[in-house]
């Protein structure tokens, strides 16, 4: 098994860098949108609730790849021309992939947060109100922190999935790790070396996320009063 040239290793690492950036961007978007969805839905106004439910149902029942293709091929068509051209000149693939991945994941994250909220007994809210907290304050200081603690394990799982799903962006030419792997494999035919290294890099990534998640979980459980 011969090894790769330094250039190619650098190429792979650039791919990894793109993967990490894509993951970070889509995760931030996903979490933010999820919080908005949860808040909107909690307001209990029927049309808003339906809107959120439809959004969530749509993004959960359509494959991630289709979201990515839709945002890349279909959405620019409806944008006014100047914006469309600006987008294409400034790394459309990355941004559109990040949006597609972020929104697709946000549907799941919002459901995870919601189930965390449902697990908090209503008596907590009553206790907060009895102490004089308004709705926003109760949510912010009492309810949401507890809900996030409960939702932490499924959220870590979602983050893991999102990290791996960044590979889907290669279909529209985002130069992330899987894309670079294919490129190098096409040039050198060192199939197993290249794929082996890429696999190890992905495994390291998932391992780091899982380890961080466990650490976070342990910290949060300790401060909750439960024995770690």
């Amino acid at each position: 098994m011969t090894f790769l040239s330094p250039d190619q290793i650098e190429q792979l690492l650039w791919g990894l860098r793109t993967t990490v950036f894509l993951f970070a961007a889509s995760w931030v978007l996903s979490f933010t949108v999820a919080l908005i969805l949860v808040t909107v839905r909690a307001a209990n106004i029927a049309p808003l609730r339906w809107a959120v439910d439809i959004f969530v149902a749509y993004h959960r029942n359509v494959p991630l790849l289709v979201h990515v293709l839709f945002w890349y091929f279909a959405v620019p068509e409806v944008l006014p021309e100047p914006i469309r051209f600006w987008l294409y000149d400034h790394g459309a693939e990355f941004s559109l992939a990040a949006i597609a991945l972020g929104l697709g994941s946000s549907a799941y994250v919002s459901e995870d947060i919601r189930s965390g909220l449902r697990a908090i007994p209503h008596t907590q809210f009553e206790a907060a109100t009895a102490l004089g907290c308004g709705y926003i304050q109760s949510m912010r200081y009492i309810i949401v922190p507890q809900a996030l603690r409960i939702s932490l394990p499924p959220l870590i799982g979602r983050a893991l999935l999102l990290f791996k799903n960044t590979s889907v962006a290669m279909a529209i030419g985002v130069a992330e790790l899987t894309y670079q792997t294919r490129e190098i494999e096409n040039e050198t035919f060192q199939t197993f070396t290249v794929f082996g290294i890429a696999t190890v890099l992905y495994l390291m990534g998932t391992f780091l996320i899982t380890a961080f998640g466990s650490w976070l979980n342990a910290r949060v459980s300790v401060s909750n009063g439960r024995r770690a």
Binding site: P63, H67, F73, V75, T181, F195, T199
Partner: protein, 229 residues
Amino acid sequence: MIDLIREYWLTFLIGQYPNGPLGGLAMTIILAFCGLLASFPIAVLFALARVSPWKALRIVSGTVVNFVRGIPLLMLIFWCYFAIPLATGYAVSGFWTLVCALTIYEAAYLSEVVRSGIQAIPKGQLEASRSLGGSYALTMRSVVLPQALFNVLPGMASQFVSTIKETSLGYVISVNELTFAANQVNNLVLTQPLQVFTILACIYFVLCFSLTQVLGRIEAAIRRRRGLI
């Protein structure tokens, strides 16, 4: 968009057939079905291995499952794409590559679902069976697994729906499933990508959403019949 549907509905449904291989939505369903059928027994075996009394078996099966769950499905597809011809000596079609990759991927995830089901069965059930003189194998076969598999039906149903969505990755290795068919239509029409991809998204939505509803109803009915176990 209506014109598009009227003209190309067959391509979406069955691809180029009969002027080419079967494709489109039909291919998607066939792929998902094959993946599920093949992955289920493997998943149960791996779950049993992970809870077995033999430490070596637990470690080996655990490592394999965590490895597969740690890499993207797309990477697994590429691995199969290159490794299967080398292992078997035959050039393998995209269809079989995708089925293999899906089987391995789904088996790993499904085995975790089944394992959690097995571990959730109360110890008393095992003790009751063992107290009657049942062996470990009989206890697993007749008492634990039937209950565990039933309890994780919702998890398994959602895995099936996930498999349908994952078949879309066949697009990347030119397997003629639904997403690939939609792309072909887009390449023919060229001027209406919004409509084409909207139709594509809608087909997946209708398929997955209705499947989730139907499976949920079936499970609720069985649960009622058994007295809410």
